[in-house]
Symmetry: C2
Subunit: 271 residues, 2 copies
DNA sequence: GACAACTGTTGAACACGTTCAAGAAAGGTG
DNA sequence: CACCTTTCTTGAACGTGTTCAACAGTTGTC
């Protein structure tokens, strides 16, 4: 299932872009730039460009990103034009395209922040709870908490993330750092818990939980109930089920079924 | 989970649009037209237009749809411009917009056909098999068979269907006829089978199987393996699991768990 | 047949995302 | 310093989906 990779209340970017852009430090140090390009199979894309990022460039890049995210928040994604972003940031349109391959690529910045915010919010739970179900429940709710302010336009560019060939797809290689980071959270959920889990299942569980999380996000995106309370209920209902299932995983009687599931996962995973 | 509602090899529309468009009969009798409009909550949309559909209009409408689908198949969705469709159909651009609210709305026609084709293909299985697992397996494979020729661009406009506010979303009210039809197939899978199923589960099962089908479609859309064989394996692996689970549903020991699941579904369903 | 009220059709015009050739600024090298 | 190379910046121009005011065709009414 597809889904917004992460989520987070970036309370940064509160002051308009006008003045001093943050010093080049922090997030966004990543190298990824050369778009994998969607399209059909048209020969090798001869451009692993890899830009060196001088100081000035980094500054402009941040300025454009801040401005874009602010406008997205203020007006929504579709309603924010590239011209508006450029104008507000005080640069030419073309300049934005020098740093970001497309309007969609601006969203990646959003993901990265929300991922980080989810991590932080999850940490609070993971440091205090030992019970598996409580940990899982806390982490899932934290993820939704962090995404909540963006529900209205998360849906809008969820659309964008849904295209398999899009670099924004949670399954794309371009988002694999974010994906790994997300899976790591669920690994922590398991490892720090007191739960006794079948070892084979334990190995696969972080990824499975992440997948379940993607499912929850997907549900959330479609959730039109006030305050998305149906999603909250889904979490509260699903967690005990998962907990029970995981607990049952060590029962002799269910071994064959578990094996069957694990074998299936394995079969599917190898190409 | 989002997913292409249906699928089908429309072998109709083989002769180019040039000559006589089919007589207004057949599919597409539906009334739905007044778009729900996405956007924010901007007052009531004062237009439940409901067009009467005269004969001539219906003819033009069909012509435009045929032409569009043909071009989509030949060149892909993104590469087909509204201007090209209009030109090829011998009408003005604006005319296409008289019949279809947007380019995306042309896709709905595609869905409807594929839905019908899936029904037909499923029938063949349902008429010969009695075993639940075999029926389910057959129906799922039939659905993929029917979609196969369109895999390359199904992905492209899967993106479109993914947006929750889009009328193309499988969960939207605008696609509810297609959705109901799809669920009906799974109802037949169950009712015609020899399987003994807990009655409460039985009531919910068609919708659950449809949901699973949406999951399979989602997987298929993302499946890049040659011939999408991973999807085939997924089906072959998941069906026995579902079968086993359904069979177990009548066991006394698993009653509480089943109840828990059904209660969850109920909770979530009511807003 | 005259008139009105639709349904159906047109193509220019608009705003948007994106590209690109041109050039300015900054760094590096002798 | 002069020079070359690389990074960065510009804005006009292109092709796209979509809109809209105008007009044509059809149907119904007296």
């Amino acid at each position: 299932m597809t889904g917004v990779t992460t989520a987070a209340a970036d309370s940064a970017a509160d002051d308009p872009g006008a003045g001093t852009p943050r010093s080049a430090a922090g997030e966004e140090a990543g190298p990824v730039k050369a778009a994998a390009r969607g399209e059909a199979a048209t020969e090798a894309d001869s451009s692993p460009v890899e830009r060196p990022r001088r100081a000035r460039g980094e500054q402009t890049r941040q300025l454009i990103l801040e401005t874009a995210l602010r406008l997205f928040r203020e007006r929504g994604y579709a309603e924010t034009t590239m011209r508006a972003i450029a104008k507000e940031a005080g640069v030419a349109v073309g300049n934005a395209y020098y740093y970001f391959d497309s309007k969609e690529h601006l969203i990646q910045g959003f993901y990265d922040r929300n991922q980080a915010a989810h991590r932080v919010a999850a940490e609070r739970v993971l440091n205090t709870e030992k019970d598996f179900a409580a940990r899982l429940r806390g982490v899932l709710h934290a993820g939704i908490d962090v995404n909540e302010p963006y529900h209205s336009f998360a849906a809008t560019f969820f659309k964008t993330a849904a295209e398999p060939s899009s670099p924004l797809s949670p399954f794309s290689s371009e988002s694999s750092p974010a994906r790994e980071a997300a899976i790591a959270i669920f690994r922590d959920v398991i490892e720090g818990s007191s739960a006794k889990i079948d070892p084979e299942l334990r190995r696969e569980l972080p990824e499975l939980l992440w997948l379940a999380w993607m499912g929850v996000v997907l549900f959330w995106v479609y959730d039109r109930s006030p305050g998305q309370r149906r999603t909250r209920r889904l979490i509260d209902g699903v967690v005990p089920l998962v907990d029970r299932l995981v607990g049952l995983s060590r029962l002799r009687v269910l071994r064959p079924a578990l094996r069957q599931v694990l074998a299936l996962i394995d079969t599917i995973r190898r190409d």
